[in-house]
Amino acid sequence: MPTFVYMTRCDGCGHCVDICPSDIMHIDKKYRRALNIEPNMCWECYSCVKACPHQAIDVRGYADFAPLGHSVRVLRDERKGTIAWRVKFRDGRVKNFLSPITTKPWGSAIPDFRNEAEPTQAERDSELLSFEPESIRLDDGGLHTLESNGLKLKEGVYY
């Protein structure tokens, strides 16, 4: 409905509540476990399914068009940098898929600009963004302009 939570697997940790982009994973006040309070606002984005440490959350396709008896399960591993999917059809056939999710140890390669050299006034006055122009073409070429590309902007009907 689209996501739902198995009673015996959920311990109410709230990881799903923390991550849900649609604010629909809530903790049930009586059972102290998670539930989807608004299935028609669920995108089946699987953010909660991936975040659950106990595989307590699963998806049952939208009742409008999805018959019962299927499953699409996922295991996302940030440390290994992989995501594994298992697609089980209503008739029992199974397909497995494995993909990378990152090529670097998590968060290690992102610059904090506070540790980088300050931009110069010339750079501030230019049209360049950070790490440009080198990061655009990875050579010595500059930023494309109308002049460099032999163009002008002209009013009228052109196709």
Partner: protein, 633 residues
């Protein structure tokens, strides 16, 4: 109400909404503003928010200038052609000349970009040899399940503070200087606390609008909209109510996608080389083109010579053929997958494409025993969406960069991506006229905005910001009113959801969707509308606005839905105003003006803008000149 007021003062750059546009803004702002206070206010959790929350399997905007693949102007001409001429070409060129640098950074940060073994002779990238795997001329293929969390790290590292779970309801205006931005207010959707952000500049990175037209699936399946259900048109409502001039809001988009799951078709068409046919196995598109050519003119669709010109056919025109064929009784349209899927590699790409960005489509195929290796799946055309980063360009009217737009007074007023409200900038869906920006282009627009916002502050333009306590108190009362309305009203009924004194957010949303569908060209009327219907729609929207003063919210979660509904309503009103103003059918296949069924370049080869008066609510519509990039010689 027992909710606390939490004030964040002296902010230099406030990023409202941190999808791909907002994250680009927060990241880049630190480069140009080392000592500036940069704060993010995000409705969900920045690690999984916005349209890319679920991941992406492709980056749809990458020039490849390093390998001589495309120049920025090539992309502008492509976007112009696809949008039937209606693009801010200065902004599009600017985005395209910077976008590759964003993609190269994503790769450095750990986003797995696929490499093409056939192009291994090209210079080495950060991982592995060779050039990126192309899906099509503009698209590269990625393993992007973690695209959003990776990019979110870059924003979090460089921002001073990230506030998750804040529904921003209004922008704050300067009380001392007319038409100048001063921050934003909203509430925490978990604690209920009132949050006030006083800021010198605001970069609006909020989302476009799903769910303003009645969706094809109205039960649980309403969640499986093409654009995320949390895209509540907040970008537009916030900007419209701040008095920003909007552009091209009539240019809603209809998507031809796999039926019900709305799984993407890009990789299928471009990489897997699948194709469509009608229920009887026939090619259908070309037979609709001669009549369509008469509607739009030979310049936009040349039935005889299109093949030789190598120009792709505009997306809306292909939609038109699809819609016409179904209406003629030869539906459904199928995607022919059984040929491509015999290749195990292509089969894997076909499935991983969904698992990487639209899991719901894989769930649907599993549930209905559709293995595209043996069965050709159905396609459909979606309900309309209003947004500005995919293949359409709704959004705010923004200034271009000095070196491109400087000589055009209508396109330039000092700061790149600044709107017609001083200190208010935008990125992604918020910026109008830059279709085909997609994820990487939205991130790039965020970066451009951030640099310009820093310059605006350094030039002293944001000095002496003044926000009165009255403005803050008035907004607080307004924000929590639905809770009070519910509390009072619910006492007069035994129980249930039906009250004579309030409407709840969901029934209110259904009313909005029904009227937009029937009066403004949704699916149940085959995307058809006219001047009479649009005027009736506006009258109904005005009455709905009165009723939304009486929207009730049982708890804080419903208060979130109440404000999302108000944002969707304001967006819808602007959409109808624009649709009424443009007296032609510019994009057959997206919508039709039954009273003006032809494209009219003599009168409407222009961009449309609207300005809603903050006090009277009156709209002023204008035509703006269209400048095209042409060769100097």
């Amino acid at each position: 109400m027992g909710y606390k007021t939490i004030t964040e003062d002296n902010i230099d750059i406030l990023v409202v909404g941190a999808g791909l546009g907002g994250t680009g803004a927060a990241y880049e702002a630190r480069h140009w503003g080392r000592d500036k206070k940069i704060v993010i206010a995000e409705k969900a959790n920045i690690d999984r928010s916005g349209a890319v929350a679920q991941g992406l399997y492709a980056i749809n905007c990458y020039m490849g200038t390093r390998w001589g693949e495309n120049n920025p102007e090539d992309h502008v001409r492509y976007a112009r052609m696809d949008l039937m001429g209606m693009v801010r070409e200065d902004l599009a060129f600017d985005m395209a000349r910077h976008v590759d640098s964003a993609v190269h950074k994503f790769e450095e940060w750990g986003l797995p970009l696929m490499k093409d073994p056939k192009r291994a002779d090209l210079p080495e990238g950060d991982i592995g040899k060779g050039a990126y795997m192309r899906e099509g001329r503009w698209q590269i293929m990625i393993h992007g399940e973690s695209y959003k969390p990776i990019v979110a790290e870059a924003a979090k590292v460089n921002a001073d503070k990230t506030f998750n779970r804040i529904m921003v309801t209004h922008l704050l205006m300067d009380d001392a200087q007319d038409n100048r931005i001063a921050g934003a207010v909203g509430f925490n959707v978990r604690t209920g606390n009132y949050h006030v952000f006083k800021s010198k500049t605001v970069i609006c990175g909020a989302g476009g609008a799903s769910n303003i037209f009645k969706p094809r699936s109205v039960g649980e399946g309403a969640g499986r909209v093409w654009y995320a259900p949390w895209s509540s048109g907040s970008a537009y409502a916030l900007m419209i109510e701040a008095g920003a001039k909007m552009m091209q809001m009539e240019n809603r988009i209809v998507l031809a996608r796999f039926k019900d799951g709305y799984g993407p078709v890009g990789a299928y068409f471009l990489h897997l080389h699948t194709y469509t046919q009608n229920a009887y196995g026939d090619e259908y598109e070309s037979k609709w083109f001669p009549a369509l050519e008469k509607m739009v003119g030979k310049a936009y669709l040349d039935t005889e010579n299109q093949h030789f010109s190598h120009k792709p056919i505009p997306t809306c025109l292909r939609n038109h053929a699809f819609i016409s064929e179904v209406a003629a009784g030869r539906g459904p349209i199928h995607m022919v997958t059984v040929e491509a899927f015999q290749d195990p590699h292509l089969e894997e790409v076909g499935w991983e494409n969904f698992l990487g960005m639209t899991v719901g489509q894989a769930v649907l195929w599993a549930a209905t025993d559709i293995d595209p290796k043996y069965i050709n799946p159905e396609l459909t055309t979606s309900e309309p969406y209003v947004m500005g980063s995919h293949a359409t360009g709704c959004g705010a009217w923004c200034s271009g960069p000095e070196d491109i737009s400087g000589d055009i007074p209508e396109y330039y007023w000092g700061y790149n991506r600044m709107m017609t409200v001083d200190g208010l900038f935008g990125a992604g869906d918020a910026v109008g006229g830059t279709p085909h920006a997609f994820s990487s282009g939205s991130f790039t627009e965020g970066r451009l905005s951030a640099k310009a916002a820093c310059k605006y502050i350094d030039d002293g333009k944001a000095d002496g910001i003044n926000v009165s306590q009255k403005q803050i108190d008035d907004r607080k009362e307004e924000i929590y009113k639905p809770l009070e309305t519910y509390q009072v009203g619910s006492n007069e009924i035994v129980g249930g959801t039906v009250s004579p004194s309030y409407i709840l957010p969901f029934p209110g949303l259904q009313r909005l969707q029904k009227l937009m569908d029937e009066y403004a060209g949704g699916v149940t009327v085959q995307y058809m509308t006219n001047d009479k219907l649009l005027n009736m729609g506006l009258a109904k929207l005005a009455i709905l606005e009165e009723d939304l003063e009486k929207v009730g919210a049982e708890d804080i979660h419903q208060l979130l839905r109440a404000w999302e509904l108000k944002h969707r309503h304001r967006t819808s009103e602007c959409v109808v105003q624009h649709t009424l103003f443009r007296e032609e059918t510019r994009w057959p296949g997206y919508y039709y003006r039954g009273d003006k069924m032809k494209l009219d370049d003599d009168n409407w080869h222009v961009l449309t803008t609207s300005h809603r008066d903050r006090t009277t609510g009156e709209y002023k519509m204008e035509k703006q000149p269209l400048y095209h990039l042409v060769d100097e010689k």
